[in-house]
Symmetry: C2
């Protein structure tokens, strides 16, 4: 399934969350990732992220779409590259 994740995390945990996300998904920009995962991979990602975030203050919004062909992606302005730095 296709997964889009946007998060709002305390700055002291941002790097850890970024490093884990990067192992499963492609970085879009600005604390947002996307990619195709199986249910098992998404559950693994959820467990790993849950170990790192502060559930009382951090928030991770996860959108899942069963078929990647159902989603269309457009960019207004500049397309971000994978190699750019974050934050």
């Amino acid at each position: 399934m296709h997964v889009i994740i946007a998060y709002d995390i305390g700055i002291e945990r941002l790097r850890k969350v970024y490093v884990i996300m990067k192992q499963y998904l492609s970085w879009i920009q600005n604390s947002a990732f996307e990619g195709d995962l199986t249910k098992a991979q998404l559950e693994e990602l959820r467990v790993r992220i849950s170990e790192v975030i502060d559930a009382a203050s951090d928030s991770v919004v996860v959108f899942t779409i069963p078929n990647p062909e159902w989603i269309e992606r457009t960019v207004w302005g500049k397309e971000r590259g994978q190699s750019e730095s974050i934050i």
Copy 2:
């Protein structure tokens, strides 16, 4: 159609972009919005945002899904409210 938007905008233009987005979509968090728009509304939003952003440095990624029922939304950690302040 359902729309998810994540943007990475120069800080001096953030407020303007936020104010326009808020007229069309619901704020998720951290420079991300979502909501249901018609094609005409999305085009109107694109035009208004294009007038404000610097296309050489700012980036707005737009995901559209024809049927809102095709998308599932989950939150890990804290659910963000609509009334919270940004940046």
